[in-house]
Symmetry: C2
Subunit: 421 residues, 2 copies
């Protein structure tokens, strides 16, 4: 490790140590105090609209000079409306019920001991993100609402915007007597900071990467700290023989084409060989502008289907492209998903309840649906009020993760003098 | 990586791949089938008592020839009674209710979608253990009861015993139509197998080390797979000013001396400076054979207290030794525990309900107790029916972990044609 790297590690260690002290303070505060602080943070963002917009203009000028792509420029850009939406998002998180303090279960032992499992904050959360400056506010708010301290590491393109938003939030927190160390921003000039965060086991409890696949892949490969993330959303929609044709058509077009770039978009359409007339489904997708890549049986349904190669079944297009395979019944669908899925979201369209229940039970994904579009895979749509991310990991939290996923529990044992025989 | 290491990695990968296939089969079976299989495994262990005892005699002969310590020989030893107890343990796990299929929560969205979170098995669990051959049966049973496949890696001293127990269990499983790959035993001749298991991310979902501190430390340091464990149990018992003297004495002696070698044993006694007469507590410990190491204030209470050095506050003795510090009230106790504890189990003795609640809320440990002995930190005592281990980690499962901790959940979404606007 170079001297410069050691300095960065020392700096991250110092930040995380301060974060842990702040977390201890947060854990003692009533949930209402944290909500008040977030409302103050939202007000501070609103009050700082001009300063945030000016900081963003700096970032945008640098980004244009560096010839960043239009998509990246759009992600980076903040105008008055977007800043207002960011503040509203923080206020909305403040309004969510806190999971902290909830009693998960309770039992009284024959010896009179009363045991409770009670939700408590996780501790210190690390967020590593890319060009969207609103993540600074959004992720900071979710971590704080659940009683956690957070260390934010945004992308270098958004340095000025992130600083401006962070400064406003901290002012809001401090106005309500909360420690500034509850929400810390790593300076992006610290190039080795991401590596230092990923190896800060014991100091940072969980890392949430927010960004593109290369970021998530790096975090998953290098982290010695638990990571909450999904790498791929290779989602399947299976049209069973007993599917209602109208539902099959509308769900297929929505699941694939409503927004092609989100992780809940369908990437592969599986059609039961016994399904009556699949032509309208493929026509509906093609007419909506979707390129279709299929096996021989799929190509026989619609001439616009081009040949799929082996990679297509394992590809998350995030685009108006759909792989199409004809399979033999629900067993064929389950086997295809087991071989090619990414454990994110898969859905069956059928009117046969028994077939639906088999699919729900046997597909091993974070989210399994019946007669619904995979595009519903989202914390807001699930009624969680927000979302820090979607996890395809199996431990701790699975699927859309919001406030509850940012907590753990402790056992409280109340006695009146019991000793163990 | 040497050729030999590569071969071991390939072998562990192949075992884990077969385990995952077995896990998919287990996940489809009703819980009663798994219970039947475990009862058959218990019967097979009973039927193989002579063979298991003979295998154990081989291990014992080798261990004696290698001059292993009496404590280790005792851990390794199996007689007819211990083999019967092992079989009974498997049957007891069979009788536990299965957590799989339980609906954690359910909600109906305004658009009519019905969401459920349903418990499912984790998948593939790796158990790495040392000389106790009964872990082969015990851990294998817990993993199978919760619907998981398991890869067992026992100590080389117990090779023959583990093989004999494993063979019986697999025969029991197969007699009920379960796949043999559901419980696999890694040959201990594969020296690099532990390293291969610890880096089998994506194939093994969680590793549980069962053994001494050096094993746990190695697993925690090298694992790229999540680990469920505790390294230390530096547990504190705090005698508050408002403690009932009789409870304080009996809890202190029990918490420290009932069994000094278990992870729930108290290691440090904290006494409130304002507590009336601490002399009987220290006398009770000393009279019970406990060596006391204390700060100046503790030494002033009882002449048998020898000076503690800095390391004593951070030491898990697992022996008849107790560190004793005098602190200023519950704040002093909480601060001492925050500085020196290992987030395992800490207890307060007090008749003041408000002080007790502060301690319960502010001590950041997996288990926090009021007026109870820390020796209750155990899955059986907590009513969990069994225990795969105690976790001081913050994610997924905390404190005593039994069947529920070996599960995760999936989201089931049931609709009638909903598409996302």
């Amino acid at each position: 490790m170079t001297d410069a790297d050691q300095q960065i590690h020392a700096r991250i260690t110092a930040m995380a140590t301060r974060a842990r002290a702040a977390a201890a303070t947060l854990a003692r505060l009533p949930a209402a105090r944290l909500a008040d602080a977030l409302r103050a943070a939202a007000d501070a963002i609103r009050a700082d609209t001009a300063a945030i917009a000016a900081a963003n203009a700096e970032d945008m000028a640098r980004a244009r000079a560096a010839a960043l792509s239009p998509a990246l420029l759009d992600r980076l850009y903040l105008d008055t409306a977007r800043i207002a939406a960011t503040a509203d998002g923080v206020a909305a998180v403040a309004a969510l019920p806190s999971p902290v303090g909830a009693v998960i279960d309770e039992n009284r032992r024959p010896n009179g001991l009363v045991l409770q499992r009670v939700r408590v904050p996780l501790g210190v959360i690390g967020i590593i993100y890319e060009s969207r400056p609103n993540v600074t506010a959004d992720a900071g708010a979710l971590c704080l609402r659940s009683g956690n301290a957070v260390i934010l590491r945004g992308g270098s393109e958004a340095t000025a915007s992130n600083r401006a938003i962070h400064a406003a939030m901290v002012r809001g927190l401090e106005s309500q007597g909360l420690p500034a160390d509850a929400i810390q921003l790593v300076p992006t000039t610290d190039r080795a900071a991401v590596g230092a965060m990923l190896t800060a086991g014991g100091l940072i409890d969980i890392i949430v990467p927010r960004g593109g696949k290369s970021l998530v892949a790096r975090v998953q490969a290098e982290a010695r700290v638990p990571v909450l993330a999904h790498l791929d959303g290779i989602n399947h929609l299976f049209i069973d023989a007993a599917a209602d044709p109208a539902k099959a058509l509308s769900i297929a077009v929505n699941a694939k084409m409503r927004r092609t770039g989100i992780c809940g978009a369908t990437e592969t359409l599986l059609i039961d060989r016994a399904y009556g007339d699949p032509a309208p489904i493929l026509a509906g997708l093609a007419d909506a502008g979707c390129a279709l890549r299929g096996d021989a049986a799929a190509r026989a349904i619609d001439a616009r289907v081009t040949p799929a190669n082996d990679e297509d079944w394992d590809t998350e297009y995030l685009d108006a492209i759909c792989a199409v395979a004809v399979v033999d019944g629900v067993d064929g669908a389950i086997a295809h998903i087991a071989a090619h899925g990414s454990h994110h979201t898969d859905s069956i369209v059928t009117e046969d309840a028994a077939t639906a229940e088999r699919f729900l039970a046997e597909v091993d994904s974070a989210i399994v649906m019946h007669n619904a579009s995979t595009q519903f895979a989202d914390g807001g749509e699930f009624g969680l009020g927000a979302e820090i991310g979607i996890s395809t990991g199996r431990l701790h939290a699975r699927g859309p993760v919001a406030l509850e996923g940012l907590t753990t529990y402790k056992w409280l044992v109340r006695g009146d003098g019991q000793v163990r025989p």
